[in-house]
Amino acid sequence: MSLVAQAVSRHFTTSRRWPLPPEVTVGVDRVHCSVEPGQTLGVVGESGSGKSTLARLMLGLLEPTGGRIEFEGRRMDSFGHTEWREFRRAVQPIFQDPRSALNWRHSIEEIITEPLRNFGQGAEERKQKALALLQQVRLPTHVLQRQTSDVSGGQLQRVAIARALALDPRYLVCDEPLSALDVSVQAGVLNLLLELQGTRHLAMMFISHDLEVVRHVSDRVIVMYHGAVMEDAPATDLYRQPRHPYTQVLLGRASPLPEDAAMPATAPAEAVRTLDSHCPFADRCPLRQARCFEERPALRELAPGHKAACHFA
């Protein structure tokens, strides 16, 4: 019973100027990954890698333009109203910045109990549940009546976690949950997430640009670049022996070539039609050769359970 992405793609149309063909940019390109109960899938990438888009696809907030996502054996594109309700109960997000991810015109209590309201629980029940949730995330009860502006960033992220747990989900998709927090507070929130995963046997997808954090929490890690998976391996293997040059660069074990001044790093400007003609990392890869610009490397298994998309890994 897991949440699986099968060759999932998401393209964005950035300009429609009829009669010219529309411009399409790639958000996510044919990604395979799965989130298993009790395990954490780490997703590493920089800006423009597509990791946030992948998170939204897994959360059902975006529809894939290619491939499909299966939730516990059932295809997401075939969900009816009941299946969607079930899905929303089971799969919950933690977003990066709690100050914008939570409605700042609501009180903390309203924020935490909203999922419960959506599923028809009464006012008294909701209040009791909210108090119980606050305890689980180690927040004092007086926080309930406060507004988000009265509460610190670290506390607010705990509120976000409490809200995510309200419906007793089985899956948690965390998109950079620590990045907006103060350094001295990050460890505490991370410990909380790990603890919750342990006691609730949660399946977690943990997205971050911080490799050290991802290594610590993940069982399996995928490394993304320009929307595609560059490497897919068990966490310990990835860090002990990274195969893909991009992973090596991320880990500081190799230096990338100087940036191409024309490419804004945040926008993967790959035109869809040229996707398979070359390796997306070719222009910055320290190992690059002619073949890298002619043929796109497939994701192949280089060691048991360890895949990388490189001609020369």
Partner: protein
């Protein structure tokens, strides 16, 4: 290398006027920066690090005030200078690189114009005369396609390129003091490393005094010579990078280091963490004594009464009544 001090800040206190009263953001902070060294000022939310930097170059927002202290540069107190004199110093002798290179450039002007601007303003030359110098600087900062970049607008360049251009702009008049506010926070990990080594290189080439402001201790430890740790508007520890990373005496410094990720930690285990949250200026105002006390495992009774006096030992200083023992 005990060099001469380029900029010396003493007992600086800064407050902001908000709504109905004043909130003190920085309380009697002192430090100096020497020629040829990188001083990192590290702190989290509410530490007052950015306020300190903007106060030094006198670019506080309209509701900010320096309420005490002095900033000595070249034998003069910057806080006492007229606006005109200060303006002459900014960009020429003292350069400031603000946060977020993407927003710090004017989106309607080309990079070339903006990099050359300090020269045009301070040396009175025309843009055509200043352009070659701008190009040279950009090249120095690691940009290869100089002509193309000079003709580009900010939105056409990546964060890393913009940061390089920003540093080029700061360096074009060859200042003696360079202040960088969170230079790598908005950048990707792979670019961060490159920018940090660029800063180190520029500092060495020009024997600059550099103040590097950051919230990330591990990031600055790679390039800083000395570090000043701030918390709740106070300076709590200062010393060489080596000393602070291995033998920090203040419980906050130690706590910060312990709770950051290091390779020796067991997979999925509980990390040592500091309880509580960094205080905001209102909270610091309410409680006398050390702002770190609520989170400190080593707090003693004096901590709640008065902020501890500084203890110094060979250039390593800390403000704590019950510092961590030498391990």
């Amino acid at each position: 290398m005990a060099q001469a001090s380029v900029c010396s800040v003493s007992d600086l206190s800064v407050a902001y006027h908000s709504g109905d009263g004043w909130l003190q953001a920085v309380r009697t902070v002192s430090f100096d920066v020497r020629r040829g060294e990188i001083l990192a000022v590290v702190g989290e939310t509410g530490s007052g690090k950015s306020t300190t930097a903007t106060a030094v170059i006198r670019m506080l927002p309209a509701n900010g005030r320096v309420i005490s202290g002095s900033v000595m540069f070249d034998g003069r107190d910057l806080l006492g200078l007229s606006t005109g004199e200060m303006r002459k110093l900014r960009g020429q002798q003292i350069a400031y690189v603000p946060q977020q290179p993407m927003s710090a450039f004017n989106p309607t002007m080309t990079i070339g114009r903006q990099v050359a601007e300090p020269l045009v303003i301070h040396r009175g030359v025309s843009y055509t005369k200043a352009a070659p110098e701008a190009g040279r600087r950009l090249k120095e900062m690691g940009i290869h396609e100089v002509t193309r970049v000079m003709r580009s607008y900010p939105h056409q360049l990546s964060g890393g390129m913009l940061q390089r251009a920003m540093i080029a702009t700061a360096m074009i008049c060859q200042p003696r003091l360079l202040i960088l506010d969170e230079p790598t926070s908005a950048l990707d990990v792979t670019i961060q490393r490159q920018i940090l080594s660029l800063i180190k290189q520029v500092q060495a080439d020009y024997q600059l005094a550099v103040v590097l402001i950051s919230h990330d201790l591990t990031v600055v430890s790679q390039v800083a010579d000395r570090i000043l740790v701030m918390y709740g508007g106070r300076g709590v520890e200062v010393g060489s990078t080596q000393e602070l990373m291995t033998a920090g005496r203040h419980p906050y410094t130690r706590g910060l280091l312990r709770s950051t990720m290091s390779s020796g930690v067991e997979h999925k285990s509980r990390l040592p963490s500091l309880s509580g949250y960094p205080p905001n200026p209102q909270e610091v105002d309410r409680e006398p004594g050390c702002p770190f006390r609520p989170r400190c495992a080593r707090a003693v009774s004096e901590c709640g009464e008065k902020f501890p006096p500084g203890t110094f030992q060979d250039g390593h200083g800390w403000a704590c009544y019950n510092p961590e023992p030498l391990s």
